[in-house]
């Protein structure tokens, strides 16, 4: 899970944004490097296709560059960035359905033996299927919290919804997942 941003990291982001707003492409490149993993991971967890996730993440960063001058430093950059990323993810989901079935996606880390790997893969496929079955509003909140580590406030800012709605959607999503993944949770 991406860890919450620390104060020095936020300050560093602010400096890079200020430079990028003046047209400094190198500063923007650094900003991309700092947030690439989070944005790609977020979109991947939303759409389930690694190739589409990377394309959409690139598109999201281009939109960030084009709209940098609309960004107000008094708001959290992560919220603003994830708002753009969420739109890119939803565009991907509406434009082209992921080509691979979400449970058949390749894994980077296989188990030590083929049997264990197959077992692990089956478990992961079940998790991904359960997440993908959540409605988009629930999935957005769950992914931003569970995988990206955004605070309720940041999620509210990113999705433009009240904090109370963030909490209720998160609770609903978790309840549904606990029901879907009851067997795996018991095994664990």
């Amino acid at each position: 899970m991406t860890s919450p941003q620390t104060a020095p990291a936020i300050d560093e982001d602010r400096k890079l944004i200020a430079s990028a707003q003046l047209g400094d492409r190198q500063a923007f490149g650094e900003l991309v490097c700092r947030h690439q993993a989070g944005v790609v991971s977020f979109i991947y967890r939303m759409c389930g296709d690694p190739r589409l996730a990377e394309d959409a993440a690139q598109e999201a960063f281009v939109r960030v560059w084009q709209n940098l001058n609309n960004y107000k430093p008094q708001y959290a950059f992560r919220s603003w960035l994830y708002r753009i990323a969420a739109n890119a993810a939803l565009d991907v989901l509406r434009r082209e359905r992921p080509v691979a079935a979400i449970e058949d996606l390749p894994l980077s880390d296989k188990g030590p033996t083929p049997e264990q790997a197959a077992e692990q893969e089956q478990r992961n496929a079940q998790i991904r299927r359960a997440v993908s079955q959540l409605s988009e509003p629930l999935r957005l909140v769950l992914v931003l919290r569970e995988y990206e580590g955004l605070s309720y406030q940041e999620i509210a800012g990113a999705l433009d919804i009240p904090t109370g709605t963030v909490m209720s959607r998160l609770n609903t999503a978790r309840t549904q997942l606990r029901r879907e993944l009851a067997t795996l949770l018991e095994e664990a």
Binding site: M1, Q21, L22, G23, G29, Y44, N69, E146
Partner: protein, 186 residues
């Protein structure tokens, strides 16, 4: 045992509670197996979700390079330049407008006075001059003409001063924006 705190457990699990409420939940958890089990279920779900790894993806430098290639050239700098040229302050624009209005008003007054005097002198002659109490009408008209000239010269000087001020102000703005952009581009 106190009442269950189930509704606070998700926020506690996500680290979103205030310090006092967190302490309250922690104290309650020590004596409540039911709430402890609920918290463990939340923690178990988070652990299970995060156990699903991300697929291998493009190295970050390569990704950033690809993004750089997709960026429209100088769009941010252009937008910044547009935003960073401040509009002329209202009072700067107000000065020439006020000068124009005052000048036009005084000109109109002088023109009307001169016209009335000239017409009266032309038709009334000496009687009009006597009525007015002026021995020499041409002198009076001449004085008015001189006054008019002085007024025009005064207004023209003020206009020139405003133009000089505006030119210097505009030049300074251009220099600061250009310097800012050059520093960033090179």
């Amino acid at each position: 045992m106190t009442q269950h705190l189930l509704e606070w457990l998700p926020a506690y699990h996500d680290g979103e509670l205030s310090r006092s409420r967190r302490l309250q939940v922690e104290t309650h958890l020590q004596d409540c197996p039911s709430c402890r089990a609920e918290l463990e279920a939340l923690q178990g779900l988070s652990a299970l979700l995060q156990a699903d790894p991300l697929p291998a993806h493009t190295p970050v430098e390569r990704f950033a390079g690809q993004v750089q290639l997709l960026l429209p050239r100088n769009s941010a700098a252009r937008a910044r330049r547009q935003n960073s040229t401040p509009a002329l302050p209202g009072w700067v624009l107000g000065i020439p407008m006020t000068l124009l209005l005052v000048g036009s008003f005084l000109q109109a007054g002088l023109w009307m006075t001169s016209s009335l005097l000239a017409t009266g002198w032309f038709f009334g002659g000496g009687a009009f001059a006597a009525w007015l109490g002026s021995d020499s009408m041409p002198d009076t008209l001449g004085t008015l003409f001189l006054l008019n000239l002085t007024l025009l010269a005064g207004i023209a000087s003020l206009w020139m001063a405003w133009l000089a001020f505006w030119w210097v102000w505009k030049r300074n703005q251009n220099i600061s924006v250009t310097t800012e952009l050059l520093e960033k581009e090179y």
